[in-house]
Amino acid sequence: MFDQLVGLAMLGVAVAVFVYYSTWVLVLPFVDDSSFLQSFFLPRDYAIKLPLLLLLIGGVAVGSFVGSVLIKESNKKKAKKAE
């Protein structure tokens, strides 16, 4: 039951992100500057900065995880050799 909720949440987040980002990037330039639609979106240069920042954070997280696993593994091997 909980698994299904998590899956549904992931699906929902993915669809929401895709729709929001697509309107932000592809539709907004054709909408008038004074339209109320513009108030739902950050200034346009954040459409590049925000994903890049997330990408950077994600890359650092993945890299540090892999690094920590490698370090632990080599420590284990060293401990085994020392035995």
């Binding site: 299904q4 992931m10 699906l11 992100v17 590049i48 994903p51």
Partner: protein, 93 residues
Amino acid sequence: MTKATETLLALSAVGAVYFALLAKVIPSPQLFHQEILPYLPLWAVVSLGSYSLAVLGYRVFSFKDKPEKYKELLVQIDEAREFYKSKGIDLDE
């Protein structure tokens, strides 16, 4: 043609069209060129990410637990362990 060359070919074709548009070899409207074109690569990355997340979420959502299969697998693992032990190979270090 292997899958890799196919993918590479498709990617380079899309890339060629994109850079042709960017370098104004293929003419495009001013607004499109200035406001949409620079954002397209990141849009592709974001789309790929949300597509992957959606597929993962859907698979998690439609995943069915099969308790009988789990028990069957445990029995099979025991069988395999016995088999290898009888041949003189110890799998648990």
